[in-house]
Amino acid sequence: MQTNFTPEQLTDPHVAESEGILRKCVHCGFCTATCPTYVTLGNELDSPRGRIYLIKDMLENGRPADEEVVTHIDRCLSCLACMTTCPSGVNYMHLVDHARVHIEQTYKRPLKDRLVRNVLAAVLPYPSRFRLALRAARLGRPFAAVMKRVPFLKTFGVMLDLAPKDIAPTSPASVPGVRAAQAEKRGRVAILTGCAQPVLKPGINEATIRLLTRLGVEVAVPQGEGCCGALVHHMGREEQALSAARHNVDVWTKAADEGGLDAIIITASGCGTTIKDYGHMLRLDPAYAEKAARVSALAKDVTEYLATLDLPRQEPKEIIVAYHSACSMQHGQKITMAPKVLLRNAGFTVRDPAEGHLCCGSAGTYNILQPDISATLKARKVKNIEATKADIIATGNIGCITQIATGTAMPILHTVELLDWAYGGEKPAGILPSP
């Protein structure tokens, strides 16, 4: 596609990078077809091609973001289905990241938006604050229905709906230290504790640690690691995101230098996509570029790592699993087969829901910030999943688990919880009685 940047503009490395991305786009329009918001709204401005054009126009003219542009960029889920579809290899992820930073720096959002975003950025990445907020939410829940009817309070009503009814105590899996291999040692990994996941579903990392140590893998829970930064990164709060990234790079570099690491295990694919991008995010920081690239290379989704362990085939279980591939798993990290192969190998029958490429509408904080589109996508996803007539849903991302669970009575588990069970662990709570 033709671009019109001045040589001065191109001295900014971020603009230069976006120019390179834009030059690859040939405006073929394939991306529109797999974009959840275009499919839902039928407006090209809510498609990747439309957004690319809006971003191009904004950046070329060096213009501050305005309401029109912000509306359509905000509606982007960052599901990255467009990147799976794009034949010419347009890196939409890095382009929209740049646009979000530009928006954050040049556009003043309405008061309510600022308030909501500040609350999310100040609470979600910090497990202790998040836990406290969820306790408060329990008290607020009776007011959710009323709040959703008041435009200014709607977002807060939606948050109350998403908050779980039961809040688990702090998980032993989050306590720093080393978990020794329970069988002949075959590897050593660090595990990302994460921010929201251990509060919402501590069982995921507990199952991961049980499974890995049982398989002979030593698991380190490093001291001081925090949120991966994805949440603020997607809000365009670049400094906050980079500071989270640098912090974790330091923690994991120390862990790698001390005991050696085969991988940094991530059990939430949304985080995985971001951590695998640390190398890019910190490429302009001479002190961190190399270290960040090393961390990104070590980052592995838990299923990606398990696939290298050559697990034995298990007896068939007569349990049908609908595998929901999170966008950050299939589009962000391009992991499509490993989780399903692991589940089949573990004895489960695996079914793919129709329209598997479409986002469930969770997308980080999207279900809070864009509740209407999110609800439409959730309904569509749940319908496709229920049509598989499976017994359980398995997926690899906490966001999808929270989102889909509020739309269906089918039990939903993390893939690793099923694998832990299949390879000697306890039957996960919430699973149907098996025959």
Partner: protein
Amino acid sequence: MPETIAFLEPKPSVLARRHQIVEDLTDILPPGCLISEKRGLVPFETDAFIAYRQVPLAVALPETTAQVAAVLKYCSRYGIPVVPRGAGTSLSGGAIPQSDAVVIGLSKMSGILDIDFANRTATVQAGVTNINISEAVSADGFFYAPDPSSQLACTIGGNIGMNSGGAHCLKYGVTTNNLLGVKMVLFDGTVIELGGKALDAPGYDLLGLVCGSEGQLGIVTEATVRLLAKPEGSRPVLFGFMSSEEAGACVAEVIGSGIIPVAIEFMDKPAIGICEAFAQAGYPMDVEALLIVEVEGSEAEMEAMLASIIEIARRHGVATIRESQSAAQAALIWKGRKSAFGATGRIADYICMDGTVPLSQLSHVLKKTAEIIDGYGLRVANVFHAGDGNMHPLILYNINDPEDAARAEAAGNDILKLCVDAGGCLTGEHGVGIEKRDLMLHQFTQVDLNQQMAARAAFDPQWIMNPSKVFPLEGRPAA
């Protein structure tokens, strides 16, 4: 890109009323269905023929046929040009607006209205994507045959506008052979229906006239199309040759001997490299030209047809033959082929030509095309529907370099003239659009064009429908 192809001069009377027009259309359409702010209009300034761009006056995204009719009725009352748009994937600029035009986009009308297996038809809204039709009936063993490479995104309305083809049209025919009926809104808002569920309707074949009329006779809002039963099996086979001439001659002999595979697709070396980089389909990388030949039917039918084709290919010095080993590999072979144009964006900007030549001329035209491209100091990748002689040279250039762009456009014109002179035509399946408009006189006499324009005027006497396209600006009837 130098603006060598002129758009119609915008009507001052329309531009002057811009504010009023936007206000009126806001009243006519439901909330969220009109784009009128400059920022939001820019992304609609072009389609997949990115060499040309014009920001429209407004974009209407109606949700019903009645709303399409209301917008057209309004536009005709004030003589406002209208440009229909499906998914905006046209490679000839068929959906590029003009500065005084209202774009009517059908993207919100994407429903499947009726599936009738007994009559083997599907009735859909015009904004449904081509592949969505096949997906909707796939589980029941059916499909919709025409398969433009952009079938993932392009709409049936756009397919009807351009009479689109695709790889598998060699056996099944193009859009016009698979279209049974339409609901269409005329320039003044009148809604008409043409055809029905049967293969032929009484009276004039106006449906045949509408299919391929590039949005100039009306806006199709609903279509009834034929469904076909899926074959028992199908298998793409890769035939590698050490020269494009050998591959071309092989195609001519296969077709000449009366064998009609489902598809015969051609890729030259640059195209193979581009497609392999995207799809990792296992195309042979050490050959100069590749044919993807797909056979279908029962195992015995496929074996018999393949045996005949292999015998012919051997006579033309085929270097490698690879059968697809699994359904997954077959899917990758087609994914690579169908993404070829977009994937070309990995290495350069391109203009995609769409000339069709008699098969006996295929080798000659390929050779001459290479000479033309060399003469301009450009590069080319060839990837096309060889079985029906529908060539798609992709002329590679740098769109940010105006001189390079001018050379690419000139080379394109030379290649299309070459196709016509070889006994072929300007467009196989992409339509004339804006791209080939000024070459129409190389294909037709003015007398031919006058008759075509008379037919056009019978549907749109005001010439408000997509008016900058298809017919050269000179020689049009006086307004």
